[in-house]
């Protein structure tokens, strides 16, 4: 009994310690942001691996999610003779929830895990130590650009996801199911508020971008420098990011859409 309690206690203490350590790391990462402005090339390189390489999966997923939404929405709405609201339903679901959330989940799986693995391997092969001995701060040079790139890339990816989702939904709703084209757009424009729906979605994805990259970068930097350690850290990145995104989404939704 006491053993169980002791182990529980130790687990909690470890969790709190990790939280503290990750916060300190975050502070060091943010300290380096001004230096990054002097070296925009580092940011461009990271935007490539975090953003460009993630575009394909985001675009394809967005398209298909929009199409499925339209299909399902049509069956339900047509029972109320409310097909005219199909565009609104598709756009609102994408902008408010699916765009930011699904993008963040895909991002964690595609870009976040890659970030963790890369940083973890750099640690395992002593590249980070090597930088330190060359008087180059690995936090500033390696972690900061990756963190900022993730933070910037997430809302951009989410916007692509939602826009392609709306187009996919339009293709199914208007093109295949015969909803009137004018109704689709006019109803959508009348009901989707740029502030309430669009801006809140962008804010969500900024928050998700911050948290997902923070987790990815921390797990990589904090990984046990062996192949097993790096693979465990990669898994943790995906799991922790997904849970954080879903939890935060609930909180943000509750705060935003009263």
């Amino acid at each position: 009994m006491t053993e169980v309690l002791a182990r529980l206690g130790a687990g909690w203490i470890l969790a709190v310690r990790h939280l503290g350590r990750s916060l300190l790391l975050l502070l060091r990462i943010l300290e380096g942001v001004d230096e990054l402005l002097l070296r925009p090339r580092l940011l461009v390189e990271q935007l490539f691996s975090v953003g460009v390489l993630t575009v394909l999966i985001i675009a394809v997923s967005g398209l298909f999610v929009g199409m499925v939404l339209s299909l399902q929405g049509y069956y339900i709405l047509s029972q109320f003779a409310a097909e005219s609201a199909l565009g609104v339903m598709v756009a609102a679901s994408l902008l408010r929830e699916l765009g930011p959330v699904v993008t963040a989940l895909l991002f964690a799986g595609r870009a976040g895990s890659a970030l963790t693995a890369e940083i973890g391997l750099m640690k395992a092969t002593e590249q980070l130590s090597g930088l330190e001995m060359m008087a180059v701060d690995p936090v500033r040079r390696v972690l900061t650009p990756r963190f900022v790139a993730g933070f910037i890339a997430m809302p951009l990816l989410a916007a692509l996801f939602s826009a392609l989702g709306v187009l996919g939904g339009w293709f199914v709703g208007v093109g295949l199911l015969g909803v009137d084209d004018g109704t689709w757009w006019v109803q959508m424009q009348a009901r989707i508020d740029w502030n309430e729906d669009l801006s809140n979605g962008v804010i969500k994805s900024l928050v998700f971008g911050f948290v997902c990259t923070w987790i990815a970068v921390f797990q990589g930097y904090n990984s046990v420098p062996t192949s097993a350690g790096v693979s465990r850290a990669t898994t943790r990145t995906v799991v922790h990011s997904s849970l954080a995104v879903l939890g935060l989404d609930f909180v943000l939704t509750a705060l935003m859409f009263k």
Partner: protein
């Protein structure tokens, strides 16, 4: 327990030879394992000092302590009059710019090619023009015989080549001191000979201070001015190589001559083999 046999160089050092790295009462442990248990080392300026000892005694750890990557539990390390572990981040980085380190694994940046790896510290810390930088990098690569390999990625290099590139990178900023962690491992006899000469030349021409960690007794003795032998968390013996070779200490003799039997344990601390093998049954 072997302190009695320790030969001090501190007394015999000429006064005109100031100490660059001064280690006093160093204690360091990893978990429960004590790695250093009161170590005093003086690294004279402008000389090649070798650190030798059996595998796993903490030679790499010692270099990392000197570089400020690890902090000691107790004791001080001074480099060029500065207490490494009392420095702020900025001063520590300024000090590191004057130290080069050759990692046991090379530690090259895997997404840059050989040229860019050597150019990296120059790009980071200087504002040289591109043509000047190119010349400097090519000269350094020439010195390690890898000018032709400049477009290769680290993954395409052999272990020995990678270590030579790392050496070129460590020299890039013309530091006051270079720490070599096992530079000879994985080198064929020819490149080994070249490296030995190179380290000596660098040291003499640029009035560099070199700290050399190595197992290769012959090569090390050929270029070192001073040798420290560490084992069991302590300095066992120190002095010029000739003196060590004629050392009265059984320990040093065993290590220098590579004899399997003697006071140096070949095994990592463990219970007796019989107990381990048959312990479960009993």
């Amino acid at each position: 327990m072997r302190q009695g046999q320790e030969v001090s160089v501190a007394g015999s050092r000429p006064p005109d030879e100031p100490v660059l790295v001064k280690i006093r009462g160093l204690h360091f442990s990893r978990g429960d394992r004590k790695i250093f248990d009161g170590v005093d080392i003086d690294i004279p300026r402008g000389r090649v000092t070798a650190i030798m000892g059996p595998s796993g005694t903490g030679k790499t750890t010692l270099l990392k302590l000197i570089g400020g990557q690890l902090a000691p539990d107790r004791g001080t390390i001074e480099v060029d009059g500065l207490n490494v572990h009392a420095l702020g981040r900025r001063e520590l980085y300024r000090l590191r710019m004057r130290m080069g380190m050759l990692f046991q694994s090379g530690a090259l940046l895997t997404d840059l090619d050989v040229f860019e790896n050597v150019a990296y510290p120059l790009r980071e810390h200087t504002r040289l023009s591109e043509s000047m930088l190119r010349k400097l990098v090519l000269l350094k690569l020439e010195a390690v015989g890898l000018r032709g390999a400049r477009h290769l990625k680290p993954a395409e290099l052999s272990g020995g080549m990678a270590r030579r590139v790392a050496l070129a990178r460590a020299m890039a900023l013309d530091p006051m001191m270079i720490m070599y962690d096992e530079p000879f491992t994985g080198q064929d006899p020819i490149s080994m000979g070249v490296l030995v000469k190179l380290i000596r030349q660098l040291n003499d021409a640029a009035r560099l201070t070199s700290i050399l960690v190595s197992h290769d007794v012959a090569e090390t003795c050929a270029i070192a001015d001073l040798v420290y032998v560490i084992s069991g968390g302590r300095v066992i013996e120190s002095g010029p190589p000739e003196q060590l070779r004629e050392s009265g200490s059984e320990w040093t003799r065993q290590f220098m001559q590579g004899l399997p039997d003697g006071p140096v344990p070949f095994h990592y601390p463990a219970p007796a083999l019989e107990a381990d093998l048959f312990g479960e049954a009993a």
